[in-house]
Amino acid sequence: MNKWKLIFILGFMTALISITPAFAHGAKIEYRINMSIEITASYDSGEPMAEAQVIIYAPNDLSNPWKTGTTDSEGRYSFIPDPLIPGTWDIQVRQAGHGDIIHIPVGEAINTSQSAGFSPFQTILMGVCVIWGFIGTALFFSRRKS
């Protein structure tokens, strides 16, 4: 009886010793990527959309806002989308009847940044082309009748 008890205890101790190092030296790192999305909203004059309302729609429910918030004085707002809802997240920014909506894909293919709009050079070039169209129209209709 004592012999069996001893073996049991020894066996238990052995088991404990073999496990203990794992508790003592093993390190465990868990990771979870909390991808946060930061948006910056500004008017086309370059002025930030400060204190504008932000409405976020998750891909699985486009009729009810997932979250709402307000941009800071620089027009910035950041949030962490739920990684369990992959798809295109819609973020609407609105102030005084002005605003826009941006579609950010979250999931397998991720664009790290995206901005809508043209460079100033493109804008000016396009503007000049349109203006030349108007001037051309004016010149055409004011040509001398032959």
Binding site: Q53, Q92, A96, G97, G99, M126, S142
Partner: protein, 212 residues
């Protein structure tokens, strides 16, 4: 001033397009009834260019900033050409620079174009009352046309925006920011009134036949 896509409910957008179609049809009919409908096209094209560029000129009025609209000026100088001119200008602003939008084009055109016609009718009092030779009255009616044209547009914009705030955002905050933006247009209304007045007096001195 330019309402972008995605702000207005679809019914308002459709109503805007309906109103714009009607006003365009009416304007074109009036233009066609003129002796030489092509005569004013160069003037209309150049003022469309001015209207197109005007929205780039931002005037800071704390806490926000506004840009020139010039719909009153177009109305005063172009008469019935003003509505198609504004429609075309807005179309190019929307497709090139996303200033405004294609779904809201009808609403924007009606909002700025109908007051332009109103501005024209105000300025026509000058002719009806036989005051065309007076610089003072030309300046006065020019100011009234320019100021009322923009003022009415701002009022329409305020009404449309305030009555269509969607339920998913904070209504009180949005209403406050719409009111602030509307208030910021009051100095612009006076400014555009003076601008219109300067332009009509200048034209009266150098080329009076350009005035309707």
């Amino acid at each position: 001033m330019h309402i972008p896509d995605g702000i207005l409910p679809i019914t308002v957008s459709i109503a805007g397009y309906a109103l714009t179609s009607g006003a365009t049809w009416y304007s074109l009919k009036k233009i066609n009834a003129q002796e030489n409908p092509q005569e004013s096209i160069p003037k209309a094209a150049l003022l469309t260019a001015a209207f197109f560029v005007a929205s780039w000129i931002h005037i800071p009025i704390p806490p926000t900033s506004v840009h020139l609209v010039l719909n009153g000026l177009l109305g005063v100088l172009l008469g019935y050409y003003a509505f198609p001119a504004i429609l075309i200008g807005l179309f190019f602003q929307a497709v090139m620079f996303q200033h405004g939008g294609l779904t809201s084009l009808g609403v924007n055109a009606a909002m700025m174009g109908l007051p332009a016609l109103f501005a024209y009718w105000i300025f026509q009092f000058r002719t009806k009352l036989n005051l065309t030779d007076s610089h003072f009255w030309t300046a006065t009616f020019g100011f009234l046309g320019g100021a009322f044209g923009l003022g009415l547009a701002v009022l329409l914009s305020f009404t449309i925006l305030v009555t269509t705030i969607p339920g998913n955002i904070d209504i009180a905050t949005e209403r406050t920011s719409i009111t602030i933006l509307t208030m910021a247009h009051i100095p612009l209304i006076i400014l555009e009134g003076f601008l219109t007045s300067l332009v009509v007096v200048f034209l009266q001195r150098v080329k009076p036949d350009l005035l309707p």
